[in-house]
Symmetry: T
Subunit: 148 residues, 12 copies
């Protein structure tokens, strides 16, 4: 099973930004652990600060991946165009956030991606990615998506 | 490990309401499968249509459970008091929804529970509960909650 | 024909509250007259100040009654969960109000029940219940619901 | 007993517009049935696409009719002037709608007529008119308008 | 000097509507007195409940009158098209209201005519018209419109 | 091919209003040129300041014309009823504006007609009508409406 | 007859500020002309940039003047306290503005004084004061305030 | 005559996305037909998912093209910076949309480009581009832009 | 003198919730002290997490108590029905809050109870209850309620 | 114990304004009684209609008084600067209102002072001041401010 | 070169209010340093808690000073009248704030002064004044105000 | 001392866009003068129309520069992601604008950068950059940032 993680703007700073608060693991280190926890899944990774590259990444994933895990960072709240890309492809896209976005500024309560995505997971730190992979793996099981 | 699932109003109708759309599994059947998928976890269950009973359920869980999985149904969008109860107890509370609430009416975009909860999972049907149990089980692992 | 009237919070005070303005008939007296005016209809009655009991009443009516007449009182304007219950059952639910709610405070202009109900009747005092029974009785006639 | 039905813009198309959805009865046919159902009531009828003619119709009815049944169509949501006319005359005016207006666009939730009218009935198709006539007939009975 | 008074919807009811509150003088009687108070001015009068006739009346006045006194009634708050007509002609248009519109419903605080008019007078009953005629008569005097 | 142009309030003033800014051609002169540019199309013309007449004009066109070109002027922003008429007929209706309405007052950004129309053209002066005729002529060509 | 004119902040600059646009007459010169035009009225004058002095001026006028003409300048849109003062005294207060405030910034559309005043006059330059004096003089005449 | 078409994010998917609804023509195929329909016009084409490249494309067109046809896709509703670029260049820019954007989500009613553009065309599918080329070709004719 | 204190949801946690911030006294301990401070007053106590029980408690107090002290907790901001109950009974109801609700989330600034209550006291911790009892005791003294 | 009462604009009219409704006691008379009821407290008094003098009064009280009782009148709802002054001093400030401000105009629901004050008391007439003195006296007692 | 610094309400407390956070320098000490840093500039100083005195200070500066540096404190967000005064004089007025107002309450994001001022500087503590003097000194240099 | 100036979209057009209004100096020429005015400061320059490149530029500056001067152009009002980048780095970032943004469209009043920046300067043309360099140079002086 092949999946793609797409991280948006400033997520390349993970581990450097306020390490006393958020811990000091970089996303590359998180990725190593994530792959170790899900050895049967091949995980590709794309990070970009460019809105259009994220759109391109979502488009290119069509037909190649079993799912996308998307943390669009600050673009979550402003990008109609990324939401359109998610709606345009057939790959299931799971929206993730490491932090609890509802605890932050009011403008972060609005997501242009949530309504188009196959599901949303927020607030579990690196664990949000773990749960999203788990969700993609189990989509074919009878239990999952039951009573959606 | 003991956890408590609290389901709010109308979730007792799961499986009866629009079965062609949402499937015909009742929540009791879902619960059987959920327990089978997580045999090492003891899962208690509380459903109530009464806002105050949900508040009481959250309060009583304090000191007894390792976590609460809370689907407050329609109260999610209107109950300041349930949000206050979540904030008042020490048990981690995970907010779940079976459907993708962002695709429905605008007033469902507001959650009084999200900001107080330990994390949110929405849109995976019965799988939302599975992922929430997974999240509670792994909270003590180093990977989880890293970079929250 | 069996129907159920559900009255929400404070409607048990009907006839005691501002009798010089609203008249001094209690809802029990109104019920006696209503049954006399529609002798061929069996009318059950449920009043509760508890939001969850109203939800339960609506759920339990499924399959037992030909219709529900619902005056949710103050919950009309705040309860997403009662609106969800109305949407979840197959029984037609008619929303009634004794007063002209549009003449009162602005927050009373919003109804979470109207969009889910089979019809709305407001402003005719006790007559609103009479008309609602009439509407339920005639639903099977060719004229009714024509050009809905 | 003489009453007047006033229908606003586009209601002359009743029966032609989406007949598979709304049925194919014209308002004239509905009127025939309505008169048959209430043989003791003389029902006059006025339809106009002109806001000012509806205002004129309401004004002219003063002193001539026992009541007006008003479906102002699209003007319901925009006409302060029709609302003023309803407030200015002594004839009781009942607001009716065939469809459940709360299920449609958000701007249809606002009515400039409701607060001025003697009561509102919506969502029963042609039956909304039937119930409105019933309401006007029974206004003199002790039961009606009790506890308004 | 020739001027035109245009009264909008329901102002033909002046004197009949709530006479104990507003007095019982019809607008025709008011007009007699107004002409007596300003004998040197020829005052034409147009009343219409039709938005489009008011627009037509404003357009036709162009080049024929020294000024228009416009009380658009309920259209004041909803008619972009009357505001456009006022802006399109060269005749000065004075907006008048008999009542203090700011004391009434919130939607009456918005005027689509005020910004296009040569001035506004409100709250002096029939006197609002008297003052408006005075204002038109004195427009050519040095004192008037000074420091506008 | 027969088409109908409907112009709303104040468009009869075209060419008289601010001629230094908007040019001095009346709509009648524009119509002569428009017919000359599209000689194979029969163009009927209706102008009215009355909202209800515009509604009537749209209704009457059903079955008689291949298309309507509608410039509702100030009613564009306030008339739910004209929007309803456009939705009710089978004739394709194209919304046009001569000016760039987005550069004017904020309340002109809202159109009750756009969502119901077959397309919108704004900002090309008299050219907006030319393009609208072109659009109606080519609707049957394979290229047009492709990928709508 | 004794009346008091109260001018608020920046109105002491009248005649100095943008004289090419607003003319170069100071308010003192305007006052001379106003007194000449109404020789039978004794007009006192108070100008202050201090909100509290304007409140004091209104309070002190109680029982001493037949009326107040109040141009509160920028305080019109922000001062609940001046509005309270106008409501607290028995003297009739007429709100005046020299400019057409509806043509300026949106925050100038709100007046905390209008709803409490005996009437409003705006847009006639110095003439607004003339008309306000006229209104106070004629209050005792039968015609005035008729049909308010 | 040289013109430039700029398509924004996700428009490279034209023809692949929901082909049963929108048709299966790619934009490249549409371009072939467009060039065939307007053989005397040289049409350059730029598509980008990157907001900044669209800005660059607009800037670079200055002095090189007779006009730009711009479909900014999802950026239409969020990009102040593209609107600034349109305002900054001398080339006329025509805003086009294939779909009727007013029928979609409410946030699509806002365009940051419309107010800066030379005109807007929406809802004619591929025909929107055809009409935009037509508009650019005829800009020099006397008829066009008359009474803008 | 008999009075009733009603505490709403989560107030049963008083003293357990954030004791370092709010102190560790339970409401039962507070009640002991309150009774000691007002020995001549008989104080009954009702706490409920159920909105409907609070409504019932208010209704049942009618005719039995000289006053109610109501801290509705989270229901303060959402319950139209509790506000209706307060308005329906003749007992004076004093709204109290221990914390300064204006310092918390914006949705806590709205109270559905304040407008119906006999007075409001907030921000004095347990002292808010003390002051409310004092207020009820002194209602019959001449000084109190003077100049309300 | 020394405390300071500060009354804002128009409170010097207490007792004169609508005496049939509010009673005819002036604030000076109220002060006499208040001092008699709390003989062990020295109460200074400051009334001003000037926003800046109230700010000065608050600043000057720092270090001199054990507490301030502040009724800012109409400035309550508009003065950011008085709220800043309350926040800047170390003296506890208690906000009082004689009337139930929540029953009046909507703009009176907003207080710029509440969030900065040590507590709020409203609706008890002159009694609001009595309770505020009581609150200041008891601040040092263990019971008070417990569980704030 | 003569300039005037005007400080609004509560700025006389600078250095006393939260000295651990904001430092303990009074504005007088800041002024000494500011004069030392700009020895060639004569700096006058006015502080007032009174809105009207600030207006007066701005008016009186006309013709006497080369520029005003205005920190209107809490009035920044509420005073239309100070904004009017800034607009009325010819002296360039620079708006300064010591703190970063965008980090504080939402109502502080609105400035009635910014749009009327010659420039704004915020967030540099005492340095905001230094930079404002620098800006006034260099206004005559070619570089400054280039490309404004 | 090394600093970095980052200019956002369309600022590469400085000097070409409306030269009669804004002057004809390009930003490169402005940069030459700026370096001449601050010879002891090494100023690097980055301009990009790409939101993501600006984010990258801010991230890369961490640890390399003593400060960033950021004019994000149109992205100021829409980019949550640039605001996040400013918050994520340790370099002080000063927000500058050449024009007075408060005088332009209402959506330009919102800045996603201001709250995260070390200070803001707007309205001085090229001088805004000069003042920002001055501010960075003096940050280490005792006077600066005093009483921030």
């Amino acid at each position: 099973m092949h999946i793609l993680i797409i991280n948006g703007p400033n997520l390349n700073l993970t581990g450097k930004r306020q390490p006393d608060v958020y811990g000091s693991a970089s996303f590359e280190e998180i990725l190593v652990e994530l792959r170790a926890l899900h050895p049967e899944v091949t995980i590709d990774y794309l990070q970009s600060n460019l809105e259009g590259e994220i759109i391109g990444g979502i488009q290119d994933a069509d037909g190649k991946y079993a799912g996308i895990i998307l943390n669009a960072g600050g673009y979550t709240h402003t990008s109609v165009a990324i939401g359109d890309a998610v709606a345009a492809v057939d790959v299931p896209v799971i929206e993730v956030h490491m932090s609890n976005v509802d605890r932050r500024e009011p403008f972060r309560k609005i997501s242009h991606i949530a309504a188009q995505s196959a599901g949303s997971i927020a607030g579990f730190g690196a664990g949000s990615y773990f749960l999203a992979v788990e969700a993609l793996k189990r989509r074919s099981e009878k239990y999952f998506l039951r009573n959606t």
